[in-house]
C-alpha cells in the first residue's frame, strides 16, 4: 500500500531519526510512504482565529495534493495543524470559500482527504496484532512511559485519534513491540512547548514535572512522537533524566530494520 507522506520541517533536520525509522518500519510492514512533492512547513501551531487564512494554506496544499488516497504525518505538530485545517475546510464554509477562491485549485477542496497519524496507521490500517506478529526483536522487560504531550490528542473532537484524557494508542504500541507500558499521570500534560525559546525556566518546570512523573512510576525510558517534546525533556528538564526516544526508533529496532 502506498500513502502520501508529509514529513515536516523538523524531520528533515533535527529529528531525522523520527523520519528515517518511520519510513523503514513502514516498508517492513508493507506500506510505502511517498513523500509529497514541494510540501511546505505547517507552521508548528494551528492559528485558532477563524479569519486567519494565509497561515493555513500550506496545510491545504498538502491535503489537496493527497486527495487520491490518504495523508500520513508522524510529527505531533504537523498532525495537529493539518487535521485542524482539514476540519476547518470541511466544516467552516466561509473559511473554505475564501481559501478556494484564493487558491484556484483545479477542483475546490472541502476536506475530502483522510489524515492519519503514523500511530493511527499502525492501529487502523496495519493493526497492532500484525505489528506484533512482525516483531523480530521484542523489547522484553523494557518499561516504557508513553508521553503524549498536548498536540497528539487535543482538541479531541477534531483530531479524533484516541480518548484525550485516557488514551491507550501508545500503550498498545508499546505492548505490540514486546515491552511493558508504564502509565504516568503527566503523560498528556504540556512540556512547555515553544516557550523554550524565550522562557527556559518555564520549559524546565513543565518538562521536569513530566520527566519526574515518569521516573516515579518506574519507567526505564520514555517515547514521544514530537521533536519539541523530545528537546524539552532531554535538554531543558532539570536533574537526572530517563532516555527519551522517538517511538519510530523503537519500532524499527523491534522490527529488525534499525541500522
Amino acid at each position: 500500500m502506498v500513502f502520501h507522506y508529509y514529513p515536516g520541517c523538523t524531520l528533515k533536520t533535527k529529528a531525522i531519526d523520527l523520519d528515517k525509522y518511520a519510513r523503514a518500519s513502514a516498508e517492513a510492514l508493507g506500506i510505502t510512504l511517498a513523500e509529497l512533492d514541494n510540501w511546505q512547513c505547517c507552521g508548528g501551531a494551528f492559528t485558532m482565529a477563524k479569519d486567519e487564512i494565509a497561515t493555513k494554506l500550506s496545510s491545504v496544499r498538502a491535503l489537496a495534493d493527497s486527495r487520491d488516497s490518504a495523508l500520513v504525518t508522524v510529527c505531533s505538530a504537523c498532525h495537529n495543524v493539518i487535521k485542524q485545517t482539514n476540519d476547518a475546510m470541511k466544516n467552516d464554509a466561509e473559511f473554505a470559500m475564501k481559501v478556494n477562491n484564493y487558491m484556484q485549485l483545479d477542483e475546490p477542496y472541502h476536506g475530502e482527504t483522510k489524515v492519519y497519524h503514523y500511530l493511527e496507521l499502525l492501529r487502523d490500517v496495519v493493526g497492532f496484532d500484525k505489528v506484533a506478529a512482525a516483531v523480530k526483536n521484542p523489547l522484553k522487560g523494557k518499561k516504557i512511559a508513553a508521553y503524549y504531550g498536548c498536540l497528539l490528542l487535543r482538541p479531541g473532537k477534531v483530531l479524533q485519534m484516541d480518548n484525550p484524557e485516557n488514551p491507550q494508542i501508545l500503550e498498545d504500541f508499546i505492548r505490540a513491540i514486546g515491552a511493558t507500558p508504564v502509565i504516568s499521570p503527566y503523560r498528556n500534560e504540556c512540556c512547555g512547548g515553544y516557550m523554550a525559546t524565550e522562557d527556559k525556566a518555564l520549559a524546565a518546570k513543565k518538562s521536569g514535572a513530566v520527566m519526574d512523573s515518569a521516573k516515579e512510576m518506574g519507567a526505564d525510558m520514555m517515547i514521544t512522537a514530537c521533536p519539541l517534546c523530545l528537546y524539552n525533556l532531554t535538554k531543558n528538564a532539570p536533574g537526572e533524566k530517563l532516555p527519551v526516544y522517538y517511538f519510530t526508533e523503537l519500532l524499527a529496532e523491534a522490527l529488525g530494520v534499525k541500522e
Binding site: 529529528a15 507552521g43 501551531a45 479569519d51 504540556c190 515553544y194 524565550e198 528537546y231
Partner: protein, 131 residues
C-alpha cells in the same frame, strides 16, 4: 460596558474566535488546568470574563497574551465548550497584526538558539509572536 471602541473590539474578538463567553459558568477549570497559570497576570477564566465585560484593551496590554502554550488543555477540559484559548489567540492577533507590534523579531533569534533546538520551536514561536 464600556465605550463604543471597547464594544467594537469585543465584537471583533467574538467574531474571530467563534467563542460565546456567555456559555461560561465560571467553574475555573480552564485556569486550574493551564500549564502557564503561574506566568499569567490574567488567567484563562479571566479572559472569558473580561471579554464578556468588554475589557479588551486591558487584555491587549497584558503580557499574558504571550503566555498561552496552545496546548488545548482548557479547550479540551471546559465542561461548557467555551474554549478560552481561542480568546487568548484572537486578542494576541489583534495586537500583533498592528504595524511594528511583533513580540518576537528575527534579529532576536540567534541569542535564543542552542544546537539542539528543533525548527519546530522557532516556527511555532514565530506563528505565535509575529506577523
Amino acid at each position: 460596558m464600556s465605550n463604543p471602541k471597547e464594544l467594537e473590539l469585543k465584537e471583533q474578538v467574538i467574531r474571530m474566535s467563534g467563542v460565546d463567553p456567555l456559555k461560561c459558568m465560571r467553574c475555573g477549570k480552564c485556569s486550574g488546568t493551564c500549564p502557564s497559570y503561574d506566568e499569567m497576570e490574567y488567567h484563562p477564566h479571566q479572559f472569558v470574563y473580561m471579554v464578556e465585560k468588554g475589557e479588551i484593551e486591558k487584555l491587549m496590554a497584558s503580557p499574558s497574551i504571550f503566555k498561552c502554550l496552545s496546548c488545548y488543555a482548557c479547550v479540551e477540559r471546559c465542561p461548557r465548550d467555551v474554549e478560552p484559548a481561542k480568546l487568548v489567540e484572537a486578542i494576541r492577533l489583534l495586537v500583533i497584526r498592528q504595524q511594528g507590534a511583533n513580540h518576537l523579531k528575527a534579529n532576536q533569534i540567534p541569542d535564543l538558539l542552542d544546537d539542539d533546538m528543533p525548527q519546530q520551536a522557532l516556527v511555532t514561536a514565530f506563528r505565535k509572536y509575529t506577523k
